[in-house]
Amino acid sequence: MATACVAMIFPAAPRLSAESHRPTEYQVKATYLANFARFVEWPPGSITDDNPIPVCVVGQDPFGPALDAALSGENVGGHSLVPRRIAGMREVEGCRILFIPSNDVQLDAVISADRMPILTVSDAPGFVNRGGMIEFVLDSNRVRFEINLAAARAAGLNLSSELLRVATAVRKAP
């Protein structure tokens, strides 16, 4: 009743939320990629001042414009997020988040690209078990993810407990 009189204004209407239709799987995954940046702490020196944080997609890009939309305007600790599409692991230098599509042949190479301060994300099944850090899984049509904490730590990344809390599974041993 009293609320009826209140002007229904929400100050910062985010673009994602403003969409009326249900977002596609890769739209969600693109958003999640951007959100991951908020819960990850890279080793000191790996992100320099005033430089954007590159979010890379290797191989064939499944996102299309969704990734650019998700990253646009996002700001994590004073750093903007920029999408970067790379062809192979040779170009991985500088990436801080790397998405590897499930059909990518370079998956194993990615996993072997150990010790680099890059958060590796993939929707390839068994990714986490094979040394990946975050693996998207579909749970009754909802996009969830599993985490290999040991792999992240091995790469010097610190994942927030908040992120761990919403993960469907967390693998702590290597």
Partner: protein
């Protein structure tokens, strides 16, 4: 009686207690209401703060869940609110306003429409009638990502409110009780002086005890002023009352009549002496008019002269007047004046001060009489003494001449006349000397009753049978010290005077009595001192006498009897004897009302008569039966007694008819008829004749106070004895007739 005071106190105390309790309760209520209001405000604030903190926690903990659409995690976060029992609904909404996760322990609904945050505000909240909600923005790293909505019911506030109310009620009751105790304790200080004051006022007004005081107040407040002023007022009233009572006592205790008479001539006030003066019963109504106690002449004078003169301001009236006491007129001195209003001078009423001067008048009169008789006595005594000496010479030389004259000398008769005149003159001077008390007397202790008894026979002879003589002697009359012969003379003189005052018959009463004279009696009777007296009273039913005669009766040679009938010395002699015996004589007489002489002899206490004066004892002279017919009771009794003492048998008849009836009925022999010559109905001679028919030859003896020629001579054996007779003469006559009869018979 006490109900009024207790009631008043109760009421006053109750009011005071009620006031303090209402005031306390009011104050407490206001304070409590303010407190509760403040508490509720604080409570609401705390509630909002608590909700805010909860929203912050939920918001912070839901960031990842929102960002990664993990509703499950968000719900888990919301479940933590289960520890806040009053939360009815909690929801996490995405930035676009979609419900992301909700918590609802009791199935509360999501708010609709969704409360949104005002621009620029991170948090908003609102109380409704039944609950409170709070919406808080969730910001993560500077970016709003959604908001938390928590709704809580107001049960806690309501419970607090109830708790506060309960506490308030308890506190209120305890406070009121404490206030009641305190006020009961402290109100004494206030109410006690007032209650005491009220009680005192009540007693004072009810019992007129102006000497009472309310307990003095120690405080200087209004109550203290009231009490002290009241006491001062009482003191003033008491002073006035004492003053008034002094005046009342003055007026009431005086022996003078003091009265106030209204302008309507009704008595407004009359003091005790006034009531006594006019013979008004103390309890009698005081609604009386001046006509009720003034003789008509004086009432008229007051109404027409004295009082109008006062009304006209012509002056007051003072002088001698008269008032009425029952039917008697009392001489008074009277002062009548107007009572004026002290300020306006208006005439309010009349006042009269009246003094009974009748006693004084009487005493003055007594004194005058006594002085007059005293001077006359001195004069008479002096004259008599010298005259007696001259008589000695006259009588002496007459006797000497008679001795020297030869028998048969023609001068002898003339000389004897001179000697007889000298003797008569000597007798007169002797009486004068008695009056002037120059005669030597031999005083003895004698019983007055004995003297009267011994004189009875002679007195009866003296007064004649047309006068009834009643002698009433008080056995306790007492002993007097006097010359018996002189006392006899007093009685004889008074009896003779009484007889002369009753030429057409009447009653003579001779009385003796005892009198203990008190102060009151002595005050109104000159020369009487308080003490015991033997009173001889001689009263007749004769013509009485005027005031003028009364004032002169004791003067020598004053007589109202015809020329040559009295010496004028009888009462003078009585007076002289009474005075000589230390007694006093009082005469009460009014024309047509008879006369009473009262003689007071000082009673001799504790002595017996010096010589018993007794009637001579007679010898038995006969045993015959005598019928006595006499209509005068006293004479019949006297005669019968006389005869019976001498042995005769007596039949008594009060008149001729009775006598004949007795004569017929008496079975025995009647030896003699003794009858009064003059009797009503059947006279003596007629009785004698009839009697002779019944008893032939029985002698008859007539008694008569008249000369014998009144009696018809009869052939009867009869004789006549002249009244008065001595006992001896009667017995002799009776015996003579009986003996003659006996001789004739033999």
């Amino acid at each position: 009686m006490k109900g009024g005071i207790v009631g008043a106190r109760r009421s006053f105390r109750r009011k005071l207690a009620a006031i303090s309790m209402v005031a306390s309760a009011g104050g407490l209520l206001v304070a409590s209401a303010a407190f509760i209001y403040n508490e509720i405000g604080t409570f609401r604030l705390n509630m909002v703060r608590s909700l805010s903190i909860q929203a912050q926690i939920v918001g912070t903990n839901s960031v990842s869940a929102i960002l990664f659409s993990d509703a499950e995690a968000a719900r888990n976060t919301l479940k933590a609110l289960g520890s806040a029992p009053n939360v009815t609904f909690a929801g996490i909404y995405t930035a676009s306003g979609q419900l992301f996760a909700s918590y609802s322990p009791s199935g509360g609904d999501s708010p609709s429409p969704l409360p949104l945050l005002a621009a620029g505000k991170k948090e908003t909240w609102r109380f409704t009638s039944s609950d409170v909600w709070l919406a808080r923005e969730i910001v993560f790293q500077g970016k709003p990502i959604g908001f938390v909505y928590i709704r809580s019911n107001l049960l806690e506030i309501r419970q607090s409110l109830e708790r506060y109310t309960r506490i308030l009620v308890v506190v209120l009751l305890i406070s009121l009780f404490v206030v009641f105790l305190l006020s009961a304790f402290f109100q004494r200080a206030v109410t006690r002086p007032l209650v005491d004051l009220a009680r005192t006022a009540l007693i004072v007004s009810r019992e007129k005890q102006f000497s009472l005081r309310a307990p003095p107040a120690t405080s200087t407040d209004e109550v203290g002023v009231l009490v002290n002023t009241f006491n001062e007022m009482l003191a003033e009233i008491q002073q006035h009352e004492e003053e008034r009572q002094k005046f009342v006592a003055l007026v009431e205790q005086t022996d003078d009549f003091i009265g106030m008479i209204g302008l309507d001539l009704r008595v407004m006030y009359m003091n005790g002496a006034g009531r006594r003066l006019i013979g008004l019963e103390p309890a009698a109504s005081s609604d009386i008019h001046i006509d009720d106690f003034f003789p008509p002449a004086w009432a008229e004078k007051l109404r027409d002269e004295i009082l109008p003169a006062i009304v006209r301001r012509e002056g007051n009236w003072a002088g001698e007047a008269q008032v009425r006491r029952s039917n008697k007129v009392v001489d008074v001195s009277m002062n009548v004046f107007g009572v004026n209003h002290p300020d306006s001078g208006e005439l309010l009423c009349f006042a009269a001060v009246i003094r009974d001067i009748s006693e004084r008048r009487g005493l003055e009169e007594q004194l005058r009489q006594s002085q007059k008789l005293e001077s006359i006595g001195q004069l008479a005594g002096g004259v008599a003494h010298d005259f007696n000496n001259l008589l000695v010479i006259i009588s002496g030389y007459s006797a000497m001449l008679l001795d020297e004259l030869p028998p048969g000398d023609r001068m002898r008769d003339r000389l004897e006349e001179i000697a007889r005149a000298g003797d008569r003159a000597a007798a007169l001077t002797r009486q004068l000397l008695v009056f002037s008390r120059r005669e030597q007397v031999e005083q003895k202790n004698i019983a007055l009753n004995d003297v009267v008894n011994n004189l009875q026979k002679m007195l009866r002879r003296l007064i004649g049978e047309h006068i009834e003589m009643v002698i009433s002697l008080d056995p306790d009359a007492g002993i007097v010290r006097a010359d018996p012969g002189q006392i006899e003379q007093i009685i004889i003189n008074l009896a003779v005077n009484a007889r002369d005052a009753m030429p057409r018959g009447g009653r003579l009463l001779i009385e003796s009595s005892h009198l203990a004279a008190d102060e009151e009696f002595a005050r109104s009777h000159l020369s009487v001192t308080p003490g015991p007296y033997v009173v001889l009273s001689v009263a007749d039913t004769g013509c009485g006498m005027s005031e003028e005669v009364k004032s002169r009766i004791f003067e020598p040679f004053f007589t109202t009897k015809g020329e040559g009938k009295g010496t004028g010395l009888g009462l003078s002699t009585v007076y002289g004897i009474v005075k000589q015996s230390g007694g006093s004589i009082w005469v009460y007489s009014e024309p047509g009302q008879g006369t009473t002489f009262k003689i007071l002899f000082p009673a001799m206490e504790g002595v017996s008569p010096d010589a018993a004066i007794q009637a001579p004892a007679g010898e038995l002279v006969g045993t015959e039966t005598i019928l006595v017919a006499e209509d005068e009771d006293a004479v019949r009794q006297y005669v019968s007694e006389l005869l019976m003492r001498r042995g005769f048998k007596v039949l008594k008849a009060a008149n001729g008819r009775d006598a004949l009836a007795i004569a017929r009925a008496y079975p025995g022999r009647i030896d003699l008829l003794l009858t009064d010559a003059v009797m009503p109905h059947v006279s003596g001679p007629v009785l004698a004749e009839e009697f002779a028919k019944l008893n032939p030859g029985v002698p008859v003896l007539f008694m008569s106070g008249y000369s014998d020629r009144l009696l018809q001579p009869t052939e009867l054996e009869s004789s006549l004895i002249q009244k008065p007779f001595t006992p001896g003469a009667l017995i002799a006559a009776v015996r003579g007739l009986l003996d003659r009869k006996t001789q004739t018979a033999s």
